[in-house]
């Protein structure tokens, strides 16, 4: 997690909020979205590899499901996750309602389709000669896969960023399953930047909502810049 920008961000804005409040919601936002996107990526890339380089019955159907998932409304995902983790639901015993874990679950569901679809496109666009060369040089299936992933890393980075953008900017599902909770001393438990903005808007405090909105945009920009920079450094070390 890029910790330095987190520490610095609130310094740039004169906040009318309690000390530690903005910082804690940034930390919760990043924790939930980064965890969800990391899990999504671990899940998506193997799926994209299998989809891209093997043929199996029902492949077109799986593809349709992924493409549909890209446009899945976040409130619907929130409702489904709420049903799962509610006391009455199948995971009720785990007591996940109104926790960060439940929020991670719903963001995982939201971020996985775009990451899979864009990674798949990136993997497919890798020149076949690269694959053939790797195979000819005696690479195992794993070696070939790693070479292809390396070649497609820009596309995969774009996929991860798209998933991150979707996760950190959505408000519907985290509000439903997270409950937008802060402790009484103003430290966020399950309040993210988006739900905090929603709360300020509900109270008619549009100016403070704007400040939080600016923080959210700055945060997404920072994460994008960091990922692009890492990609460039990777290219130089090649």
């Amino acid at each position: 997690m890029p910790l330095d920008p987190v520490a610095l961000l609130p310094l740039f804005v004169e906040t009318p909020f309690q000390e530690g409040y903005v910082r804690s919601i940034i930390v919760v936002s990043l924790y939930v979205s980064c965890t969800a996107v990391a899990l999504s990526t671990l899940f998506s890339i193997p799926v994209a590899l299998v989809m891209g380089f093997t043929d199996f019955p029902g492949q077109q159907f799986v593809k349709s499901v992924i493409n549909t998932g890209m446009g899945f409304p976040s409130v619907v995902v929130g409702l489904v996750v709420l049903f799962m983790v509610s006391n009455q639901g199948p995971l009720g015993a785990a007591d996940l309602i109104f926790t960060k874990e439940a929020m991670i679950m719903s963001q995982f569901v939201l971020a996985t389709p775009p990451i899979t679809a864009i990674s798949l496109a990136a993997l497919k666009s890798v020149d076949e000669n690269v694959r053939d060369a790797a195979r000819v040089l005696g690479g195992t299936r794993l070696d070939v896969a790693l070479v292809v992933i390396k070649e497609a890393r820009y596309g995969i980075a774009t996929a991860v960023l798209a998933g991150f953008g979707r996760a950190i900017s959505e408000v519907g599902s985290v509000l439903i399953v997270g409950g937008n909770i802060t402790s009484a001393d103003g430290i966020s438990q399950t309040r993210t930047l988006t739900t905090a903005i929603q709360l300020e808007a509900r109270q008619g405090q549009y100016d403070t909502a704007m400040i939080l909105g600016a923080v959210l945009v700055a945060l997404v920009l920072t994460v994008n810049a960091i990922v692009v920079r890492l990609g460039d450094e990777g290219a130089m070390n090649r």
Binding site: S86, N87, Q88, G92, D95, I97, F98, G179, N180, I181, T182, S183, A184, D185, G186, Q189, L199, A201, R202, Q203, G204, Q205, Y206
Partner: protein
């Protein structure tokens, strides 16, 4: 005052005994140190937007949290959603303001040990120009009927909240079925409703607390007062608190819920509610303490042992 203190101690004692009894069955009574056995636990309170958005809960909760060494997770949802969450067993205690919905909740067996907590009132607000001419009317129903007659713009919460429920009651009282271009259900919280009404110069029904906390940012003004300022009784806004029935939802933190009810209906917390002000105005008026018995707070409205067939 001595009587109140005795009640306070009794309530506190009940809560403490209940919590200790409940926990020692699980922990084998190991936690008999200075801290109560509920220490470290979390109480999930679902409540309405008005108690949360006015900042009341954040102001008074630290005392309770410190007293028991616990955390209160307050989830602000609107009365309908707050009760639904509790109905699903996802919260331990509810603090809401729609007696009809609370009664249904109790009748269905989900809520127990209801107490009257506090009250404020609703006010009918609108633009200063007052196009329908309702200013100073002493009947809320008459004011609503006039708004409907004049087809003046009216913003409705439309979210099954306590305020929305009250609004529908007033329309019913006025004998009007609201509808048409002038009546807009926005499906949003009180603050958004006030902003929306402000932007289009419309009327709306607001709880006094949210209106006071937002008044400096909007041009709306109170046209019909609630009972606190001598207005009609119909605009009263009573808040109640109930524990989730642990026999229905075994995972509900009943011990801590009862400790919370004991605390928030105690003289100390009731004073804290009375002392909470915004822009110099008191937002909530405590109601839990009374020397005279008030049995109706424990049961659905109109219930008596003679008519217990329900």
């Amino acid at each position: 005052m001595p009587i109140q203190r005795r009640k306070f101690l009794a309530a506190l004692g009940t809560g403490a005994v209940a919590s200790v009894a409940g926990c020692s069955q699980i922990t084998g009574g190991s936690g008999s140190g200075d801290q109560p056995d509920v220490a470290g636990q979390t109480l999930t309170l679902t409540t309405t937007t008005s108690t949360y958005d006015t900042g009341l809960l954040d102001a008074i909760h630290p005392q309770f949290e410190e007293m028991y060494g616990v955390t209160v997770d307050a989830v602000a949802q609107g009365t309908g959603a707050a009760l639904e969450t509790a109905r699903n067993g996802d919260s331990d205690i509810v603090m809401v303001h729609a007696r009809g919905l609370e009664d249904e909740f109790m009748r269905n067996g989900y809520g127990i040990n209801r107490r009257d907590l506090m009250f404020n009132d609703f006010v009918i607000v609108g633009p200063e120009s007052d196009p329908a001419g309702i200013e100073g009317m002493d009947s809320a129903a008459e004011a609503f009927a006039t708004i409907a007659e004049e087809q003046a713009a009216f913003v409705s919460r439309g979210d099954n909240s306590g305020t929305h429920t009250k609004e529908l009651n007033i329309w019913e009282e006025a004998g009007v079925e609201p509808g048409g271009d002038w009546y807009q259900e926005i499906g949003a919280g009180m603050g958004e409703a006030l902003n929306n009404a402000n932007q289009q110069g419309a009327y709306t029904l607001s709880d006094r607390g949210t209106f006071i906390s937002q008044r400096s940012e909007i041009d709306l003004t109170i046209l019909v007062q609630g009972p606190i300022e001598g207005g009609p009784e119909l605009l009263e806004n009573p808040y109640g608190i109930m524990a989730v029935n642990p026999a229905v939802h075994g995972n509900a933190n009943y011990d801590l819920a009862m400790a919370y009810i004991g605390w928030i209906t105690s003289p100390g917390a009731q004073d804290a509610i009375a002392d909470y002000t915004m822009n110099g105005e008191q937002l909530f008026f405590p109601r839990a303490l009374s020397e005279d018995p008030d049995f109706q707070q424990y049961v659905p409205e109109g219930w008596s042992s003679d008519s217990s067939s329900e």
